[in-house]
């Protein structure tokens, strides 16, 4: 059973997920670089050796991922708005190595019983960006080349 929902509304992905911890803790895990480094890793096998996360308006974000097999890429971004324990608005782009178009992301943390309901709204990437991200190898290689082929066709 997956606790995650992922919907697409026009040009926006909407993700919801429940957590057993209160909004304060979930917010902290999204804004404390030492905590972000532990979970924002995508598929198995990737690590985040560099994590800059300045949780204040205008604060910088820089996440660098490595897969231990010589592959890696990084993401940069800026925080736009923060409501302590309630809401984070930021923009981010991946460098593959060319920067992808800015992805605008709003993350809300609402108390839900003793836990938290997180709602994240983010820009749907264009076809080129989707193909570029899939080709990073965060998905296994076959599928990535299959997507690239589809883009060419």
């Amino acid at each position: 059973m997956s606790k995650l929902t992922l919907k697409t509304e026009g040009d926006t992905h909407v993700v919801t997920r429940r957590f057993a911890a209160p909004p304060e803790a979930v917010y902290r895990a999204h804004t404390d670089p030492k905590l972000v480094q532990k979970w924002m890793l995508g598929p198995e096998g990737w690590t985040m050796p560099v994590c800059v996360c300045e949780a204040k308006p205008g604060g910088k974000i820089r996440y660098e991922w490595k897969n231990g097999k010589g592959r890696g890429f990084y993401l940069t971004g800026e925080f736009l708005e923060l409501e302590l324990f309630g809401r984070i608005v930021h923009v981010e782009r991946m460098h593959l190595p060319d920067p992808t178009p800015d992805n605008h992301i709003e993350t809300r943390f609402d108390a839900d019983g003793t836990g938290t309901l997180m709602t994240m709204r983010m820009t749907l990437p264009d076809a080129q960006t989707r193909a570029a991200v899939l080709a990073t190898g965060m998905e296994h290689g076959m599928e990535a080349s299959y997507v690239r082929l589809e883009e060419i066709i």
Partner: protein, 72 residues
């Protein structure tokens, strides 16, 4: 339009022929490839987010555990 150019047929006539070929499964519209690519993207995104948030569950459990330890 592009497809109709080399033939001595009107664009609607070409469309009609394409429709017959499509119904017969001989032609697949490119939009289908677009939808499949989107499905693939959503599946990758869902997998990556699932992994992330399963790890986050553990990080949160550790924070709770740590807090209990401090107040003991």
């Amino acid at each position: 339009m592009e497809l109709a150019k080399p033939f001595e047929m009107t664009q609607p006539a070409i469309s009609q022929h394409l429709k017959v070929l499509e119904d017969a499964g001989l032609v697949i519209r490119l939009v289908k490839g677009g939808i499949e690519a989107m499905d693939q993207w959503l599946s990758m995104l869902r997998k990556a987010l699932d992994k992330n948030y399963d790890r986050l569950d553990k990080v949160l459990a550790d924070i709770e555990q740590h807090k209990k330890g401090e107040t003991r």
